[in-house]
């Protein structure tokens, strides 16, 4: 029964993503208006607080607010930093970790609504024959620091400085103001408020313009680039800080000689983590990994790559699974059939 419903890990993951998309975007409407106040308010996914129907909030908005209103304000009063000032922040991180402990970065690959939206757009891109643009081993390193910069500057730095009064108050939650999930998820609830740029002050206008332009860029780029925003998402770096502390993890054999010549798992990785093909053991679980499991699905050898929880195998690569999988979809996500040929035919003249 389950095998018929979910013949592949990808199908199972996509089903989870769709369910979580409804919970994170429409959860409040489905489960009750006040659900958002009661689940965690510290979800390790870009579940947007500006979405009036959301079922839960992302950890990043809570962190920005607490740094802005509590930590920053307390630091401004030198010597008046009391433990109870930091307790709310520690509570949020603690609640976040209670979730994160069990699923690790699967929150990125299985739960995040923006991740799901980008993946669906990429699938559309495959269907209409758009090219695949990948980061090579040479240039992927240039984009990876961006997620740390986003975390340090937009989530941690500016909100704290705003709380201290060093920078303008409008910089209290700057990441949220540029986060594409804010616009994407609110538009999914037919709410255009967040698409409208805030023109109250110059900073509002600047952040709004940047956020909208980034949203537009991501929507189109996702047709050709896998998970374009995930690569610079501060939640990816935030989650990376904790990924070694969870029993849910990606595990690769310590050595496997076929890996040198294969490289199929690298092609399957939506985050262009080339290290998955060349690294072994714990090093293969890279900071950019979202635990989507595609590398394990497309590894043609038995149990070379596995997703484990407390040491128990939840999913492992297998030759038979690989053979069945590539019949329908290439490692890059290109369906073997049913591509709408019109656009490609036009381009080829």
């Amino acid at each position: 029964m389950l095998n018929n419903l979910f013949p592949t890990l990808a199908r199972f993951r996509f089903s989870v993503q769709i369910v979580m998309l409804f919970v994170t975007v429409y959860g409040g409407a489905l489960l009750g208006s006040y659900t958002v106040d009661r689940i965690s308010q510290a979800l390790p996914s870009l579940s947007c607080a500006y979405d009036k129907m959301t079922g839960d909030h992302c950890i990043l908005i809570v962190t920005q607010h607490q740094l802005h209103h509590r930590v920053g304000a307390a630091l401004a009063k030198a010597g008046d930093v009391a433990l109870n000032v930091f307790i709310p922040t520690l509570m949020s991180v603690g609640v976040f970790f209670m979730f994160f402990f069990f699923l690790n970065k699967a929150f990125c690959g299985w739960v995040c609504p923006l991740g799901t939206v980008q993946e669906m757009i990429y699938k559309i891109g495959r269907r209409i024959g758009r090219p695949l643009k990948r980061f090579t081993p040479e240039n992927v390193g240039r984009v990876r620091p961006a997620k740390w910069l986003m975390l340090l500057v937009l989530v941690l730095g500016l909100p704290t400085l705003a709380g201290m009064g060093t920078v303008a108050n409008e910089l209290g939650d700057p990441f949220c103001q540029v986060c594409p999930s804010r616009i994407a998820t609110t538009l999914l609830t037919a709410d255009t408020e967040q698409l409208a740029v805030h023109t109250g002050t110059g900073i509002n206008l600047f952040l709004g313009a940047l956020g909208n332009a980034l949203f537009g860029f991501i929507i189109i780029a996702a047709l050709a680039v896998r998970q374009p925003f995930c690569r610079i998402c501060p939640l990816l770096s935030w989650n990376a800080l904790f990924q070694k502390l969870s029993p849910m993890r990606l595990v690769k054999k310590e050595s496997h000689e076929k890996c040198e010549k294969c490289g199929v798992c690298e092609k399957a990785c939506p985050m262009d983590i080339h290290e998955i093909g060349t690294a072994f053991g714990s090093k293969a679980f890279h900071e950019d990994c979202t635990l989507c499991g595609r590398c394990a699905e497309y590894c043609p050898d038995d149990d070379v790559i596995q997703i484990k929880f407390f040491g128990f195998k939840l999913f492992g690569s297998s030759r038979d699974y690989y053979k069945a999988r590539v019949k329908f979809e290439t490692p890059e996500g290109q369906p073997k059939k049913r591509v709408i040929p019109i656009l490609r035919a036009k381009e080829n003249g």
């Binding site: 695949l132 698409l195 409208a196 047709l223 490609r344 080829n348």
Partner: protein, 295 residues
């Protein structure tokens, strides 16, 4: 001193109290007794929250009754199982300090003034931002006074009543819905409108867009929550020779699109899309290569 103050308020109130029909409120001068604390925009009973202190962590909430002579403010917790949750807050000179109960979250607050043939109730909701609160629906469903106006639902965290939006309220008497009941809405911006409850005792309120341009305030904005104005809903009902008047007040903000520009937003979005467009170009060689691979 506090007792004397309350006694004075009650005495003045008793002397000036009259019929409590909302439409007759302008002539009904309960407000005179607390003129020093009262907003003159309404004569309806209000419960206003005042924040004391700048520091968010140490901020105190003071509840101030206006246009009503009440001895205490009743605080109703969202956790009905909390034996210490329901408190009676004593009103001092500056108001009644509202402490945060263990359950946090939403608190319903009411103040009651009772005379021989008239009962007046002011009510409002205060939200303690910390997590841990229970779903307040059961708190709203709990019968607290004879005549009640209950939000259905109340704006949750990161939300508030805003101009042009529709919100529902239940109107009930002794726990039963009041059908076809007139509900009056007044705002501190000067609007006044009337609505009727439906067959379920529910009234749909359209929050008026009555902010004047010069009243749009940029100072004090905080993470999108712009400063606003006050609104109060009131309903009156007679039963058993008694006249009941209940009011529910809250604040509301400007229209969602105030200081926002949708056309500009769409423009910047299109600009971003244009920036990503080159990624979609399918070079012939690359396309042929991909075709061969797929084949």
């Amino acid at each position: 001193m506090r007792i004397l103050y309350s006694a004075c308020l009650f005495a003045i109130c008793t002397a000036t109290a009259s019929a409590a029909e909302p439409t007759a409120m302008a002539a009904h001068d309960h407000g005179a007794m607390m003129r020093s604390q009262s907003n003159i925009w309404t004569q309806l009973p209000l419960l206003k929250a005042r924040m004391k202190g700048q520091d968010m962590a140490a901020r105190k909430v003071i509840m101030q009754p206006q246009n009503i002579a009440a001895d205490a403010i009743e605080a109703w917790p969202n956790d009905l199982d909390d034996a210490n949750g329901h408190r009676s807050l004593t009103i001092g000179m500056g108001g009644a300090p509202l402490d945060k109960p263990a359950s946090g979250g939403f608190q319903m607050l009411t103040a009651r003034e009772e005379q021989d043939d008239a009962v007046r109730v002011a009510s409002t909701v205060h939200y303690f931002g910390e997590r841990g609160g229970k779903n307040p629906t059961t708190m709203f469903d709990q019968v607290k006074h004879e005549l009640e106006i209950v939000p259905k639902p109340y704006p949750r965290e990161h939300s508030r009543y805003r101009a042009k939006e529709d919100w529902q309220f239940s109107v009930r008497f002794k726990g039963q819905p009041l059908v076809g009941q007139k509900v009056v809405l007044e705002t501190s911006n000067g609007s006044r409108s009337e609505f009727m409850t439906d067959a379920l005792g529910v009234v749909l309120i359209n929050v008026p867009d009555d902010f004047k341009p010069e009243e749009a305030q940029s100072k004090g904005e905080s993470h999108g929550m712009r400063r606003g104005a006050d609104l109060v809903l009131a309903v009156s009902h007679e039963d058993g020779g008694k006249r009941y008047l209940t009011a529910f007040n809250s604040n509301y903000g400007e229209d969602a699109f105030a200081k926002r520009d949708l056309a500009l937003g769409i423009g910047f979005t299109l600009l971003g899309m244009l920036g990503a467009a080159p990624l979609l170009r399918n070079r012939k060689a690359a396309a042929n290569k991909e075709e061969n691979t797929n084949a």
